[in-house]
């Protein structure tokens, strides 16, 4: 066991864990930030996506010992109050079915929009390829990203 002081959602958090513990389990079990989801453990589903210094990262494949002072942002820290344009678009369009993968989808999409505020359909498909949605809400995820980017206005295709 070793102590690690992490910068999570702007706060300094110290944990005492095995050095090979994936950041995902530190967030979930030690810091009670359960919005970061366990889906596959091998970086193939994207449900565990967080930002490390702004870069979308699979936290299930990131050992806590490699995080250092990098800024970790989880879905809980994406906005203080659920007001990120993607969070609002997801509610406006009623994107989720089961909802389990959606924090990871939103974190990947947030990184995309920061890099590329007006993505094309191809840009969106390329960026989101690593995030599985077993309920297959892909059409509304696409629409949610476009709505958050201001490329469309809300309307048909979601819930109010």
């Amino acid at each position: 066991m070793s102590k690690y002081t992490l910068n999570v959602n702007g706060q300094s958090r110290t944990v005492d864990v095995a050095s090979d513990t994936p950041l995902m389990w530190v967030l979930r079990d030690n810091l009670d930030l359960v919005g970061t989801k366990f889906g596959c453990g091998v970086g193939k589903c994207g449900a565990c996506t967080v930002h490390l210094n702004g870069v979308p990262t699979r936290s299930c494949m990131t050992s806590v010992s490699t995080v250092g002072r990098k800024a970790v942002v989880t879905i809980e820290g994406l906005s203080a109050d659920g007001s990120h344009p993607l969070q609002q678009a997801w509610c406006e369009l009623d994107v989720a079915q089961c909802g389990y993968c959606q924090p990871g989808q939103i974190m990947t999409a947030a990184a995309l929009l920061k890099e590329n505020p007006k993505p094309t359909d191809q840009d969106i498909d390329d960026a989101m390829d690593g995030n599985l949605c077993r309920c297959a809400t892909y059409l509304r995820i696409r629409a949610g990203i476009k709505l958050a980017a201001g490329l469309t206005t809300a309307g048909h295709g979601g819930g109010k």
């Binding site: 969070q87 089961c98 599985l132 109010k160």
Partner: protein, 743 residues
């Protein structure tokens, strides 16, 4: 969510206080506002003071907040939003005044299993009555307050109005008076005329959306209790195998490990299978210790089974008559002998997994001679019964809290993981959460069964189908039949052909027969069980016969639907959806250039009549791109939540495409080969079609569910479009096994 908030520590006393409400479902003191905002700060609190509780599902607080209990498991099918909408419609409450809470398992709520797309039809009428009863009482309370006849008063907008005197009392103001009134008999309350519905049929966002998008605890996996331990459970990779020995003493010495032990288990493939449990102080400590686990297994009778051997067996069986007849009309042998043309084809599909994105998990606490569970389950009553019979505890000592599930698709109708955590919890003196790895999930599923079909069809000179024969080779085991029939070799759950599968009972000379291969693979219902594969076979073979006879695939289908002989299949409803989908899609397969194609299919299952048209592009190199899907659904009179309904159908279509294109599990040496999403590919965004158009055709029939019936027509519409595009007939799943290159 019924577990305490995880964002702050919860002490044991608080926790017990929460738990004490297990029967009623109202556990947390506040809930996020249900719709329209993701703001975590915005909460609606029922005010202190006595609530009006006309039944187990409705509570109205003096401040006007209406709490509605959702009793059904929420697995992504949207019932936590749609069923309360039905109550709200009749209650005449503004949706913004409603908070929805998840009910625990409680006999007061009636049945609580979410399967067979039955949550809506089983509760639709009853939920109307629940809302109407409360509304009737509120109107009576206002009438008595004003001293006017109730018939002069009406409810609307969370209030009761007396039009003649322009007086209004809000629901909250009527709580005290309404609570003193007798509850009228359900037969005495008047339901709304559907033409007056304001809420049903509109688009309402999921009540948990704000929590979903801000990552708050909702799912079984998110459960955390004070002092909770974390468990993993290793089972034999060969189904039915038993533990001979394991290095549990070495495991117990590993960092963070609290205990490790062998569980003897049973031979029930859907029950408590034998295995080795590791309990630790964190999930990762348990996962890490498992890597050091060494188990000697008695792999049992299935250790040499393989898909390849089963395939050879199926080919051998296909040369013999079927072991039993599923349905027969007329004399198919004579009809085929006299046909102008015959077509023979063999279809097959592999075992596949549900692969719910949230791996199986459950939290249990064994104390005071009973169990308390926090379960992501589609079938919590089944879980409770299974625990009662496995551990011999009384039913009232098994408390089940329902969490949201990260997908179900039928997987969580089986309660194997609940039995496992209960067995583990019995041996540790703390709450314990069992977490399956993805590999556990793919290698220990209750699988969608594979199968083989050997078909022969005949057409006359006009291309009309004159004979149809299908020898279905199923997978199964020796089991008792329905109604206590003696044990015999029977097809497994989710892979059993019945006498109603179209075109059964539409052809005068018809034979469906079945032979069963015995295996030891766990099988269970997978989204639209049976139908999800039989539709592929039947609707594609109909297409083969259409092309063989030079007939338009739509026209031949309509001809078939017009010649119903017997059974409950509503051919008129299906004809209507088929005609509408053709119109909406602009059915005209001849307009497409080579390399592009249009395919059509229809299927009835789960009380839904669904037709679909697919449009695809197949490159000369054989790359498949799905361009467009058009779908028409007749699921009865009323769409409950338009947003949720459309989401279910769009998701079903993309799920159906992905399943057909990519999914297969291979069995070697008695074990499933694939273990994670690197070798078990799921559909991703780039393979989702750009356009999926969903139309609902209302009919004067009972309102029914949409979690499943849109799945079965997807694969045949897709495969028929592929044939139209490039002349390659897909007769095997996954589609990736068929060479689609053309020149």
């Amino acid at each position: 969510m019924n577990t305490p908030s995880l964002s702050r520590p919860v002490d044991r006393r608080d926790f017990l206080k929460f738990s004490a409400f297990a029967g009623g479902g109202l556990v947390l003191g506040y809930y996020l506002k249900s719709a329209g905002s993701a703001s975590a700060a915005e909460v609606v609190k029922p005010a202190a003071g006595a609530e009006f509780k006309p039944n187990a599902f409705i509570r109205i607080a003096p401040n006007g907040v209406v709490t509605l209990v959702s009793k059904q498991p929420e697995i992504g099918q949207g019932v936590k939003t749609s069923l309360p909408m039905i109550i709200a419609e009749e209650l005449e409450v503004n949706w913004k005044d409603v908070v929805v809470v998840q009910g625990d398992l409680d006999a007061a709520y009636g049945g609580q299993s979410a399967g067979g797309s039955r949550s809506t039809p089983n509760n639709y009428n009853e939920f109307h009555k629940l809302g109407a009863t409360a509304r009737t009482m509120l109107v009576e309370a206002a009438a008595q307050t004003w001293g006017v006849p109730a018939g002069e008063c009406s409810a609307a907008g969370s209030a009761v109005h007396h039009a003649a005197t322009k007086r209004t009392l809000k629901f909250g103001e009527l709580v005290a008076k309404a609570s003193t009134l007798p509850v009228p008999a359900a037969a005495d309350v008047k339901l709304k005329d559907p033409k007056d519905f304001k809420l049903l049929g509109t688009r309402i966002g999921g009540v948990d959306n704000p929590k979903v998008v801000t990552g708050q605890p909702l799912f079984g996996m998110d459960t955390k209790l004070p002092g909770m331990l974390y468990a993993v459970y290793e089972k034999c990779p060969v189904f039915g195998g038993k533990v001979v020995s394991a290095n549990v003493d070495a495991i117990k010495a590993l960092p963070g490990v609290k205990d490790a032990f062998i569980i003897e288990g049973t031979a029930n493939l859907g029950g408590l299978m034998p295995g080795v449990a590791i309990v630790a102080d964190s999930t990762w400590a348990a996962f890490s210790a498992r890597k050091q686990l060494k188990v000697t297994w008695d792999e049992g009778k299935a250790a040499n089974d393989s898909w390849d051997a089963f395939t050879a067996k199926a080919l051998e069986l296909s040369k013999q008559p079927g072991a039993s007849t599923v349905h027969q009309d007329g004399d198919v042998t004579t009809a085929l002998a006299g046909a102008a043309k015959t077509v023979e084809a063999a279809y097959s599909y592999p075992f596949i997994s549900h692969a719910s994105i949230e791996p199986q998990n459950c939290t249990a606490w064994f104390k005071d001679g009973g169990f308390e569970l926090w379960a992501p389950s589609q079938n919590p009553g089944g879980g409770q019964s299974a625990i009662v019979s496995q551990f011999g505890v009384p039913k009232e000592k098994v408390i089940v809290h329902l969490t949201r599930s990260g997908g179900g698709f039928g997987r969580r109708l089986s309660n194997d993981y609940i039995l496992e955590v209960a067995a583990i919890a019995q041996k540790v003196s703390a709450p314990v959460k069992l977490t399956w790895s993805r590999e556990d999930d793919l290698r220990h599923d209750q699988y969608r069964a594979g199968g083989f079909h050997f078909l022969k069809g005949g057409i006359d000179a006009a291309g009309k189908i004159v004979g149809w024969k299908n020898h279905f080779i199923a997978f199964g085991s020796v089991q008792a039949g329905r109604g206590g029939a003696a044990p015999a070799l029977r097809a497994g759950t989710g892979g059993n052909l019945d006498a109603e599968q179209f075109p059964s009972k539409f052809l005068p000379n018809f034979l469906n027969e079945i032979s069963v291969i015995e295996c030891n693979i766990p099988m269970g219902p997978w989204r639209a069980p049976n139908n999800n594969v039989f539709s592929f076979v039947m609707q594609c073979f109909i297409d083969e016969l259409a092309h063989a006879g030079g007939r338009d695939p739509l026209e031949l289908r309509l001809e078939l639907l017009a010649q119903k002989m017997s059974g409950n299949y509503d051919a008129a409803r299906m004809t209507a959806v088929v005609k509408l989908v053709a119109a909406k899609a602009g059915w005209n397969p001849k307009k497409f250039p080579r390399g592009q194609g249009q395919g059509i299919s229809f299927h009835f299952s789960h009380s839904g009549y669904i037709a679909q048209v697919a449009e695809v592009t197949v490159s000369k190199q054989g790359e498949l791109k799905v361009d467009r899907f058009v779908c028409v659904c007749d699921v009865g009179q009323q769409i409950v939540n338009l947003s949720g309904a459309e989401n279910q159908v769009q998701g079903s279509i993309i799920d159906g495409i992905g399943t057909a294109m990519f999914q297969e599990l291979n069995l070697e040496r008695g074990r499933m080969v694939q273990g994670n999403f690197n070798d078990y590919p799921m559909i991703r965004m780039p393979d989702a079609p750009g356009k999926v158009e969903v139309h609902f055709l209302s009919s004067n029939n009972p309102t029914t569910g949409l979690g499943e019936p849109a799945i079965p027509p997807v694969a045949p519409a897709l495969c028929n479009a592929i044939f139209a595009a490039c002349g390659k007939r897909v007769r095997q799943f996954p589609i990736s096994r068929t060479d689609l290159r053309w020149s």
